[in-house]
């Protein structure tokens, strides 16, 4: 029995280490962000004149706005398309096409963000540029971001729809409801929790995405005036400036990382809390 106990001890220790990594990450972010939070306080990140870290101007607002705009736009693109493709797979596609559709969506989920960025830069940006500007703006970034988070919505909605009790759908069909009515009145309301989780998870992916936005959004720090104006997100800002940032500047970058981390963690905990209630 001694080997059994040592097995339990070893595996539980490993599990504890895996679980502790999150705490380690939060701990290190806090440690590195502390100097900026202590010296500047939270309000200066919103009230400073501009983002000129070398002359101690740390206004994060334009970047926060750019992050919110691109993420929200991405969800507006990904949610309808993702839900439609989940409905397609379950109700419209012939069996063989449905299998392929799922496989291709999973493939789309696996394409690296730099590859999306490269495609956006070389193919999509020149097309968007015909509307004016260089083509590297929030609009291009939003489209590609939407495409990137789409598989999350599609796969989770698909799973939620597939998990619905068959008798609901058969019953609705027996009442003489048409296919679109069944989907609109039975399937989507029934699967709304799963679909909602998918959309929220996609939102965390959109907040967390760096490379594609970095390559496509134009990276100019200014308050976006329209969708066609260039912008820089918080993530892109970290990726651009961490390499040469020192002291206070570096610490401010960690503050922005901490903000991202906290927002995303809250959403994830909310999803897992909801799921806990459901079970």
């Amino acid at each position: 029995m001694r080997s059994d106990r040592s097995l339990t001890i070893v595996t539980r220790t490993l599990a504890a280490i895996s679980a502790a990594i999150v705490l380690l990450i939060i701990g290190f972010l806090l440690r590195e962000a502390a100097p900026a939070l202590r010296q500047l306080g939270l309000s200066r990140f919103f009230t400073d004149e501009s983002w000129h870290p070398l002359s101690s101007q740390f206004n994060l607002t334009p970047m926060i706005v750019a992050t919110l705009v691109t993420s929200a736009g991405a969800i507006l693109i990904a949610a309808p398309l993702g839900i439609a493709s989940a409905v397609f797979v379950n109700f419209y596609a012939p069996h063989r096409l449905a299998v392929w559709h799922r496989r291709l969506i999973e493939l789309l989920a696996g394409i690296p963000s730099v590859v999306f960025g490269l495609w956006g830069l070389m193919v999509l940006a020149p097309i968007v540029a015909t509307f004016g500007g260089s083509g590297q703006n929030l609009f291009t970034a939003t489209i590609v971001l939407g495409l990137m988070v789409l598989p999350t919505v599609a796969l989770l909605s698909d799973a939620a729809i597939a998990a619905l009790p068959r008798p609901w759908i058969q019953g609705a069909a027996a009442l003489g409801m048409g296919r679109s009515a069944i989907i609109g009145w039975v399937v989507l309301p029934g699967a709304r929790r799963g679909i909602g989780s998918g959309i929220m998870l996609a939102l965390t992916r959109a907040f967390g995405e760096t490379m594609a936005v970095l390559m496509l959004a134009g990276n100019i720090v200014e308050m976006p005036s329209s969708l066609l104006s260039p912008g820089r997100t918080l993530n892109a800002n970290i990726a651009l400036e961490l390499g040469y940032a020192t002291a206070g500047h570096r610490s401010v970058l960690f503050v922005s990382g901490l903000m991202l981390m906290l927002v995303v963690s809250c959403i994830v905990l909310l999803i897992s809390h909801r799921r806990g209630h459901q079970a």
Binding site: E32, H101, P112, M122, L156, A239
Partner: protein, 298 residues
């Protein structure tokens, strides 16, 4: 009276029919446009990339900031980063998955907390992993910009998915096998190593392959941990550039690097396609389907 009733029902019937057609067209259009975009991206990468690739490209050194020459050293660095990542993450994940599945059919409070913390870890943005890796591995542990820092950062990043897939692999082993083994008087350790792990092996391997795909695709977490240096690394403490970082650098920082960026992207996508096929093959061997990216009931 009767006439108008038939007319109304005919109007309603026409309206229903029209709505049915509209929804069908909308759903097909949406689904086909998603697939169309995916095929557009893949053919674009393949057509522009394959034009640049030959055998020399895959093995020779990089020249002129990447505009000429090959990606030999970059493939080597990528391989080493993956190796470090797997050497650390596989024991951790398998151990954690065994701890999470130690009771059949019931959930301990410990497992519930571990799972919740892994859910959060799965949502951490990759640039935050980069910040953490830079602060912890590169600076606090003194590893600097090195393959070791990069690999360890990626190990933290793939941990949730690797644990999730390993856990599903272990759970898919029929409980009867374990009951039968226990009835024979085998110890839990023996059951684990002689019964559960061998049965779960293909599904465990599929999880590992899936994680390799995740790690290969990652860029943001590597920018400030394994660095940009494109020479062949001489040890794990040297900085090394991964394929994805190379694509980013060529596309953004090297004027005229687009063609080679496409070639590198083509290599990367080809590797990921192979990984995708390998995962599907391994999963078919076991009959395990894992689709959900998060899950588990607490």
């Amino acid at each position: 009276m009767n006439d108008s009733g038939t007319a109304t029902s005919r109007v309603i019937g026409v309206r229903h029919h029209r709505r049915e057609v509209c929804v069908t067209v909308a759903v097909w259009t949406a689904a086909m446009s998603v697939i169309g975009l995916l095929i557009w991206i893949l053919t674009d990468i393949a057509v522009r990339g394959l034009a640049e690739i030959d055998f020399g490209f895959l093995i020779s050194d990089m020249q002129n900031a990447g505009r000429e020459g090959g990606i030999g050293p970059i493939i080597l660095s990528t391989g080493l980063i993956l190796l470090v990542c797997l050497v650390v993450s596989i024991p951790l994940s398998f151990g954690t998955a065994i701890a999470l599945t130690e009771r059949i059919g019931q959930e301990t409070g410990f497992a519930c907390n571990v799972r919740r913390s892994l859910d959060v870890l799965a949502g951490v943005p990759s640039i935050v992993f980069g910040l953490f890796g830079n602060a912890f591995f590169a600076i606090t542990l003194g590893l600097g910009y090195s393959i070791l820092s990069g690999g360890l950062t990626l190990a933290c990043m793939v941990l949730p998915i690797l644990i999730r897939t390993s856990e599903q692999a272990l759970r898919a082993v029929p409980a009867e096998y374990q009951y039968a083994a226990a009835a024979l008087g085998m110890k839990r350790t023996t059951i684990l190593f002689r019964v559960v792990l061998p049965v779960a092996m293909p599904a465990l391997a599929a999880g590992v392959v899936l994680s390799i795909g995740r790690a290969l695709a990652e860029t943001a977490a590597l920018l400030f941990t394994s660095g940009y240096v494109a020479r062949s690394p001489e040890s794990l403490l040297d900085s090394g550039r991964s394929l994805s970082v190379h694509i980013y650098d060529l596309a953004m920082n090297v004027p005229g690097g687009g063609a080679r960026a496409y070639a590198t992207a083509c290599v990367l996508v080809a590797l990921l396609l192979m990984i995708n096929l390998a995962t599907a093959f391994l999963l078919r061997m076991t009959g395990v389907r894992h689709r959900s990216t998060t899950g588990g009931t607490c």
